[in-house]
Amino acid sequence: MNSHEKLFAELAVQKLQNQTRRHFLIDCVSKVGGLAMAPLLFGCEPEQLIKKSTGLNLSERDLNPLAPLPPPFLGKAKSIIYLHMAGAPSQLELFDYKPELAKFHDKDCPESLLEGRKFAFIRGVPKMLGPQAKFAQHGQSGAWVSDYLPHFAKVADEVAFLKAVHTDQFNHGPAQLFMQTGSPRLGRPSLGSWVTYGLGTENQNLPGFVVLTSGGKTPDAGKSVWGSGFLPSVYQGVQCRAKGDPVLYLEDPSGMSRDLKKNVISAINQVNQEDFETFGDPEILARINQYEMAYRMQIEVPEVMNINDEPEHIHELYGTKAGEESFANNCLLARKLVEKGVRVVQLYDWGWDTHGTDHDGSIDKGLRNKCREIDRPMSALLLDLKQRGLLEETLVVWGGEFGRTPMQENREGKIQGFMGRDHHVDAFTMWMAGGGVKKGASYGITDDFGFSGVDERVSVHDLHATILHLMGFNHEKFTYEFQGRPFRLTDVHGELIHSVLA
């Protein structure tokens, strides 16, 4: 099929997806007269084009969009657990040790760092803010980890640090979108959606892409950070509730037997199937699949999402408390989900935006409390995956959407009541661990203030390229046709970070 046919086919599909009752009513008013003309004007049959273009002669993938596919080449990892610290943690208090910065504490920021730059909140000439944590080297790799993360320091040998990651967005929403979808604007599929689209999922009783949030808020960018963009919506992340029942209404109401439920669902699906055969809208297939998955989830979800049955030593390891919304519980759930064959588990923890405007947002107090909340759970997650052999085939990624400035924030030109750092895009630390990642590696060097990367810088696209590589994709070949051109997660950018590959 040539390109213009592809475009027509895509248009036809898009039209079907955009038809709502409202459109229909509007059309009734304005276009009844036009109806007579329609056969004359629209010679080409959209349905046929759809069948040709999307192959809707119903392959296994059409009937079950989450059916597994082999990776294009052997990836070392088969699942991802992505720990996103929403709000952006300070690399200068956690991993990027800058003794030189301490000497400049409370001195005016050198003009050279401010020239021609914009910050989210810093105005005028701010003071420098020395590291507030105590640093030491840990493990055989000699990784620098601060006393804010005492447990993590013990497992630092398991991970590879990326110390000069940079982004180009200094506001949370766009930066989170950029980090998760490769574009700071809405409309692109998230990393998890791409991977689920490319590989499907192994456990047909569970969603392929699960999202769990903690910290009391969801990310600023909203649900688009786990959205499916232009990919079929069945590939978007399934957000489970952080507190109470993870998925509502899993239990059948009294009087509703499993068989009766089955009959109800197959009747609904029958109607949907007929609708699909009439209109050819692939979203109907997604709906059919969701009904079926909901039915199958009833078996497996209560079991996998229940942490109460875990032994006591696991609860101690993670520091979990059943029934509350916490990063610890989510880490334990992430392990359980990956163990059951879920492809992507995305954790968001809110509360890292330490501007120094209040106690909770202070670098020396609030940040320490946040660190305590994640220190044990994320270290436990690595150890638990390791002891079960799951770390061999699971990729763990940790990071925020950007970093924080080496300067004390001076919002509106005023001195803050607490120690705080502004958003910073030039250099921040992330880490990766597990399947295919070189243990104990450290890549990226920042200047003496931790302001910019001076060597081995890593862009968000580089990070995505590397994650896709570990999952078995060539990021340059992994595309989806949309609006007449193939789209990639990494757009036209991205280079593999060879130094962190095992």
Binding site: E60, P68, L69, P70, P71, P72, F73, L74, D147, P150, H151, K154, E202, N203, Q204, N205, H313, E316, L317, G319, K340, G341, D364, K365, G366, R368, N369, R372, R376, S379, A380, L383, D384, K386, Q387, R388, G389, E392, Y443, E456, G472, E495, L496, H498, S499
Partner: protein
Amino acid sequence: MLDFLGPLLGRMHPVLVHLPIGILIFGIVLCFFPQREKNNFLPAIRLAFLIGGIAALGAGISGFLQYQFEGFAWEDVRVHLVGGILTALGSFGLFFHLRKKDVIQSKGKVFAFVLGLILTITGHLGGNLTHGESHFTDVLPPGLQSFLGIEILPEKGPQLPEESWENAELFSEVIQPIFNQNCKSCHNPRNQKGELDLTTMKGLLAGGEDGLIFTAGDAEHSELFARLILPKDDEKHMPPAGKRQPSKEEIALIESWIKKGGKETQTLAEAGISRKLIEQFILKSELPFYPKTSLAILSADSLATLKTAGFFAEAIESGSGLLKVSCTNFSGFQDSDWEKLSPIKNRIAYLDLSGTQATDAILDSLEGLSNLTVLKLNETAVSGNSLDKLARLPHLKLLYLNKTGVNLRIIEQLSTSKSLQKVFAYQTPAAEEFPNSGKLSLPFLLETGNYSLPKLPTDTVVY
């Protein structure tokens, strides 16, 4: 206001050129027709050369306009342009030569033949400009291409040994291969774009049409490096946009090489090249994780049969004949279900029977699985003595026995395996015995887990 006429006429050149070509070929062919005392074709031939000449002139003018407005380089169009002028002149010449004649003498035939030759060469050069020099040769079979000596084989980049990479020669083993991979197709002895040959040290030292291309020790002022770091849309950026671009590391290596003197003999260690820069070129000595096989991919029907039976089954990677099989949604799997897998047993590279009803009897079935690399038997009733059978599997690398009844004595039986790398025995009797086993040495890594994170005073401090 009529500024557009020039560029428009210029762009008509590829259209207009076909007029003289067609008309002149017609005339030239007629010149070689058998003739008697009087050549009856002559009026037509004369007319052909007159109109052909005029058409050639028009094509030439439009061609010159195209050269002016479309930014072609003079050295690229030079011969083509001269050829076009010669064609036009030759056509008029022949017209005048034949004006008073009744027959065409051999002199006229030679003249016509030469004109045909010039026309062909000029047309071919024009085609090269629009369609590229390899327009015809690209479609030839590779064997014929290499026979004709046209083909530039895609070069591999640098490849360095895992051990003693420091002793590799910086120029011949790293820098030259980078040039060969990224630059050779346009800068080789046969095709010297910009009069530059980057395939030897001699060529590098000789430089190109603009003179020397590098100054030892000064990368910033060396064209060889500076052009690589120009923005991609810059006209002078090399390699040209659209061609393979060298990686960050490759550019950094070229920079280091120039800074260190641009010598022909100097090892990586002497030049102080860090491992990080050459990491991607180091040949990993490790064998591929899964065995290499010549098995064709399993047919969709067979795969569907396995899936209907309840298994998860997929190729380990696209196009591979090896399979990953698991019982993720088939917890009812029993030993007797093995027969559904036995037809494809040689294809199984990854087998996950975790959480199923499998017992020790399954170990007998697993015998002889020549490609089995990863085996998961977590949370099964497997615990027995016949585990030693697994030691005979030639490719088994990872064995998962978490939450089974295996003890340390049974795991020791696996010691005879030559391929086993890791055994996971978390929450087993073996895990309890292991810490006290003292001098036990196993040829593989035994992971017994039971990790804890001891409580710290800071765990409860709220700031």
